[in-house]
């Protein structure tokens, strides 16, 4: 740790304070860096070493520009790792750095305790460095151009993950290359017997023939689906490609690296609101209750006002923080549950106070078991929505101005949930590996009211086809009409299948 002594003692105070408040963090290592270094590290996604790729250079250019022109400035950068790494800007004032440290401990606790991070790689610092070495070695053998071309393709698929797997009890196994994967057992399964044991005279009632028929048909359909794609439709398309695409050894390795890193960043994508809210909640408490000196109060307030500022757009820091505060208040006063929900007397609701004092307990619980979608679903109440004056807007297609559509609670909530569902990305599923019985890959877009951006969809599909090495078909709908894109031989065609 290279903290100056003045900060080191402050750091210790904050660490003790976090511990006393019940935060359970990894050890956290703070590094002092200057602005350019911070931009560099941020361009690499928070890691000092990543594999070489121009995308990092692009990100660096963007960050450099916006920090030089004062458009935006990175305040905190913390890496989910054991031990946690966090970066402090040398040019920040002491107050700001205190704030950042308190904030970092909030994140750190979240990384460690949230269910969506349970399979998260905790030695990512080392893995990233290993990946960098491996990619460099591959570049040495196969050339910059080939590797870059392949990485460009692979990275364009990096958001095609199955976010549901993140919080499952056991992590899905790492995909194996085709030639290493065990051959499946090909003996056909015996059709199971759906009949329940019964006496003759009861059989008609216990095993009604129409129900039996239905079960049988269902079973046949399942078997069919199983043949098309073992295990049913898959969303983790990177894993699917790793298992089934005909890849060279080095291509497989690159794709595997991209998949591993995408999986590592996935939990942060689906918990952004909560994660920032949690960290903001805790920096506030730690700062105000323990760390802040009187003289620093104004500076502190100024910075916080900046990070929590809202125009007409939602600020995830602010939304998350307000939700945690709301939960705390509601569970402290008992304003939840069936009895409260049933009460429709305005004054009574306002004055409701059962002295439950379970607020703190509840926010600790919710930070452990939710991701953004379930969190908002569970805790975004109508009252909260009105108090914060949330609304749905739509951009006028002609004037490109935002126009308020509605303030209706259910609509607001639906819009919000839609926007963050599946990490904010469309849900694309693989349904058939042997489409048309000629090895084509069939994907479907689970349309939930929002169309795909067509030019990007086509370009991405081409990248997919280049890795799959056979045509790839994507079914979706655009403006309520079924659409089918086929990527084949470096070209995409689109048609409207009649369903």
């Amino acid at each position: 740790m290279n903290l100056p002594p003045s900060l080191a003692s402050v750091e210790e105070r904050i660490r003790e304070s976090a511990k006393a408040h019940g935060l359970k963090c990894f050890d956290t290592i703070f590094e002092m860096v200057d602005e350019e270094q911070l931009d560099e590290i941020a361009a690499y996604g928070g890691f000092p070493t990543r594999y070489p790729h121009w995308r990092h250079g692009m990100e660096f250019e963007r960050l450099r520009k916006s920090s030089r022109w004062g458009i935006s400035k990175i305040y905190e950068l913390v890496i989910n790792n054991d031990p946690c790494y966090a970066y402090l800007l040398a040019s920040n004032s002491l107050t700001d750095n205190k704030l950042v440290m308190a904030h970092v401990y909030g994140h750190c606790d979240f990384f460690r305790n949230n269910a969506w991070f349970r399979h998260s790689e905790r030695k990512m610092m080392d893995r990233m460095a290993n990946h960098a070495v491996r990619v460099r070695r591959i570049i040495d053998r196969h050339g910059q151009e080939a590797v870059e071309a392949f990485l460009d393709r692979a990275l364009s698929l990096e958001n095609l993950l199955d976010y549901r797997q993140l919080c499952e009890a056991s992590a899905p196994p790492r995909p194996q290359p085709r030639h290493l994967a065990e051959d499946g057992d090909d003996t056909p399964e015996r059709a199971p017997n759906f009949r329940l044991r019964s006496r003759d005279y009861m059989d008609e009632f216990i095993n009604p023939p129409e129900y039996m028929e239905k079960r049988r048909r269902q079973h046949v359909a399942e078997q069919e689906a199983e043949k098309r794609l073992p295990g049913g439709p898959r969303r983790d398309l990177l894993a699917l490609l790793l298992e089934h695409a005909p890849l060279e050894r080095w291509e497989w390795e690159l794709l595997n690296i991209v998949h591993e890193e995408a999986l590592y960043f996935a939990p942060q994508r689906v918990t952004k609101i909560m994660n920032e809210g949690w960290a903001s909640y805790w920096h506030r408490r730690l700062m105000v209750e323990d760390v802040l000196t009187d003289a620093e109060l104004v500076d502190y307030a100024d910075t916080v006002a900046g990070t929590l500022a809202e125009g007409n757009t939602l600020n995830p820091y602010k939304l998350g923080l307000e939700l945690f505060l709301d939960i705390e208040a509601r569970w402290n006063s008992g304003r939840h549950g069936p009895a409260f929900d049933a009460c429709d007397e305005m004054a009574q609701r306002e004055a409701w106070d059962k002295q439950e004092n379970r607020g703190l307990e509840q926010i600790f619980l919710s930070r452990a078991v939710h991701d953004d979608v379930t969190f908002l679903d569970a805790y975004l109440t109508e009252e909260f929505c009105h108090r914060h004056q949330l609304f749905v807007y739509r951009r006028d297609p002609r004037t490109h101005k935002k126009e308020l559509v509605t303030r209706e609670f259910s609509k607001v909530k639906e819009e919000l949930l839609n926007n963050i569902a599946n990490g904010g990305a469309p849900i694309i599923e693989a349904v058939d590996l042997n489409h048309g019985n000629r090895g084509d890959l069939l994907l479907t877009h689970r349309h939930m009211g929002r169309d795909l951006r067509p030019d990007f969809a086509e370009a991405t599909l081409l990248n997919m086809a280049a890795i799959w090495k056979r045509p790839v078909v994507l079914e979706s709908s655009v403006e309520d009409k079924l659409v089918r894109w086929v990527a084949c031989d470096g070209k995409v065609t689109m048609d409207h299948p009649s369903s």
Binding site: R55, F60, E148, L155, N312, L314, V392, L452, T460
Partner: protein
Amino acid sequence: MLGRIETDHRRFRQIVHGTIRRDLKRYVSKGELLGRSSGGTISIPVPQIDLPHFTFGSTEGSGVGRGEGEGEEGEAGEAEGQHVLEVEVGLDELARILGEELELPDIRPRGEADIVSEHARWSGIRRVGPESLRHFKRTYREALKRQISLGQFDPAHPVVIPVRDDRRYRSSQVKRRPESRAVIIHMMDVSGSMGTEQKEIVRIEAFWIDTWLRHQYKAIQTVYIVHDAVAREVSQHDFYHLRESGGTKISSAYQLCLDTIRTRFGSGDWNIYPFHFSDGDNWSSKDTAGCVELLRANLLPQCNLFCYGQVRSAYGSGQFKRDLDQALPGEERLVTSAIADRDGILGSIRDFLGKGR
């Protein structure tokens, strides 16, 4: 641990340059780079250099906001076109890209031998000189050499003592660098027949020619002349915005051009590039004959290159280019080029500057 980003950053810039080069035609014909330059750099919008992903179409962009929901004006800054990246490129670099794409040869300036500037640099070493200029490292190296060769150097006890002969001194050397000066004289026909579109084409072409020549010459000046029946010198702003009407007497512009050269750039050490753009209609054939005479007798001998670009317009006859080509065949300092529309701009730049003069 740091320093790797430079490699990635350089690679990114390379890709950007490749993209600009590929799309150069579009940038040129749309003229969207004009007015974007400031202080020697230009910011270029590069669409879709980012990797494609499956995303939602964002054109109708809906979402959740907060607050009163009023006063939504003035937030055009966060419009959703986030996939257009603005990249800053130096004008020099842009000229290089243009040069590569059009395979323009470097220009060999005139008067190379005549004009030189002198720079003194501390690049030499001498054995004599004032103590204040003594070169420590060299001196000790000499001393070390001497001691080793005499067998006086003991690695276990490394003491190096220079003597008088070992001393070395910095000396200044004068470097002579040829410097070339150049002037671009833009002439444009602003008579009634030149429409907005024609002027826009001239504007775009003049911008790219400027960019290229500025890349080739250190010191460059620009003169703008407009003419209808009479010619006069105007500012850059007026050159692009003026709209006149009336007849066309091209000789008036050529005469003014000649006068300007004689009074201001006549010392013989200037590289002179007159460019003339019109729609090819001249008042009379007598005036055209006058133009030819001016060119043959006075202008061409003084210029590196005289370029005439004829922009096609609905009213122009396009006669002037034909007349020039007929009257002055095989004159290698005269280049004429017809510009049909915006897509013709690149071709005509190649015509003009492809000779490397």
